[in-house]
Symmetry: C2
């Protein structure tokens, strides 16, 4: 499955009804860091939880906030207890601990909650990565202890494997986390600027050590052509801002490559973004109209483009799921790998 | 009827399907000036006309471009032949003539096209207004002659009554335009900063002189509480950016007055914008969520707020139409006028 990103309890520009009915999305990702700061997890709890707050009846996964604390905050202090950071909104000091981010996500009522992890910049030395992965394991144990101590909840907690770009550290981290017996496992700290071959190598070093029957989730990936490669390596879940962010920037994914909508060649183009696409956007709107909306700075462009790009991603995943169910995944992967990509 | 404004071939933030299915809108207004400059009327003609371009199967009225030329352009030159102006996009010089704006709107394939008119600032002297109304009549005659000379078209041309805030000039202008025998008539040059009593007075000076069987359209009005007043004076059609623009600015209309969504009192408010409203927004989303989206700068706020405000306007018109059909309009008007308004 691919999870569209709804950072602030909204997938930017798309109505929840269209996410549900038009796109058939089963699970969204929302960001703990952002929603903790605004409107606050206690406000969301008082309002009946995140599902009710954002009018989303299906599943929600919230990240741990770790990635945002480490990427949006230049001023932060990490200790064994947790991480002290300043709000990017107003500079207020806040502390995330393994226990507190479990509580925050339980206040949201998220279906899948993530354990606090430390995210390193790329590149990092082996020693830095080793200490960081060790801390992530300690935090995951603390989170797990806190979570299981609360008794039965409706949420599943996923620990996150770290270890930067070192296969031995990834493997060691995975082995230690597996001892927790969690409902699923994530692989974090990828898509941070490393070459794609290295991301895949880290996944290969990790996935075989994770429980075969439990979902395996690679965070923050990827490009459309990368999705089948992760699936081929045993990955079940992915999320990425790419389909929605690229949409807003005027870049549309198609079966024949990218369409950069501002290009003059689309000025009089009456055809849809992708002739083969059955999405709402492609059913009713031309490239010429989309280009007009984009150049005019109209919001509707983001809506139509995001609907298309999300449909494109979800369609890839649907195709892969079907081939797996039919026992035809290896053949399908060969066909996909042989297909020409590039600019339309 | 109330026509939502879709300046650049989109009602900002709302999908055409929601305008059609969710809101039941029968007719939209689009702006000749904007669409002439970008993407251009010839491009729209090549793409199959405005309905197809913007994926809107129902009626479209386009204004004459006159109002925008006079409000968006400080550099312009008016002659008997037309108006020379500079594009607000790139400074290029363009000329609108009574004939050319008919041609532009026929290229769009608009269902209702408007004759070029001169719009004055408020206040204007009687002499300035007299000369300007005379020019508007001359232009309307030229537009009419050009339009009828083209033979049968699928579009109706409406001339526009001007005359600033002088009842005698409005009446004279109306009498002269009625001689054309057009399918409908508009009253322009209102909502330009004058007191509301004066706008209504100008409508009262004009409507009785227009053909009873033909639609009468007051351009650019109004506030929710003004709509019944115009209808009471014989007005059939109105348009205004207010529901959509106010929505984007965080101001929502309700049966109990305005909701200014950024106010702190809505922070934990689980109720919909308007308890009595059956719109998509009020069916699924709380004031607290809308406030969160607004403060977070999320596009979805504009979408949800615009859907609500348009529904509110359209509902007022529906209520008025029903009371007219039932022969109960005078009673209904009394009830409406007695209802308390103000801030919720």
């Amino acid at each position: 499955m691919f999870m569209p990103v709804g950072t602030q309890a909204t997938v930017k520009g798309v109505l929840q009804r269209d996410l549900e009915v038009e796109l058939g999305i089963q699970i969204l990702l929302a960001n703990t860091y952002h929603l903790y700061l605004r409107p606050g997890h206690e406000a969301i709890r008082r309002l009946g939880g995140l599902h009710r707050f954002m009018n989303w009846p299906r599943a929600i996964l919230t990240d741990s906030g770790g990635f945002q604390v480490f990427s949006l905050n230049s001023l932060r202090k990490v200790t064994d207890e947790g991480v002290l950071f300043r709000s990017h909104l107003n500079g207020d000091a806040h502390m995330f601990t393994p226990e507190s981010v479990v509580d925050v996500q339980l206040a949201f009522g998220s279906d899948i909650i993530m354990a606090l992890d430390e995210c390193l910049e790329y590149p990092a030395t082996h020693e830095t990565a080793r200490l960081s992965a060790r801390r992530t394991v300690q935090w995951a144990r603390a989170a797990w202890q806190h979570y299981t101590g609360l008794g039965e909840t409706a949420s599943s907690l996923f620990p996150i494997v770290q270890g930067s770009m070192f296969g031995d550290l990834r493997a060691e981290c995975a082995r230690q986390l597996v001892e927790l017996g969690a409902d699923g496992y994530a692989i974090g700290g990828l898509s941070v600027g490393e070459p794609r071959a290295l991301s895949l190598e880290m996944v290969e070093a990790t996935v075989p050590l994770l429980p075969r029957q439990r979902p395996k989730y690679v965070m923050g990936v990827g490009l459309p052509e990368e999705l089948p490669e992760y699936v081929a390596r045993g990955v079940d879940m992915m999320d990425c801002v790419m389909p929605s962010r690229n949409a807003r920037n005027g870049c549309l994914f198609t079966s024949r490559g990218k369409v950069v909508i501002k290009q003059a060649k689309y000025r009089d183009d009456p055809s849809p973004v992708d002739e083969k696409c059955p999405c709402y956007t492609c059913r009713g709107y031309s490239r010429a109209y989309l280009r007009h909306l984009f150049l005019a700075g109209e919001m509707l462009f983001a809506t139509l483009a995001t609907i298309h790009n999300l449909h494109y991603y979800l369609d890839i995943m649907k195709d892969l799921r079907q081939s797996i169910v039919l026992g035809a995944f290896p053949d399908r992967l060969r066909v996909i790998r042989a297909a020409p990509g590039g600019e339309d």
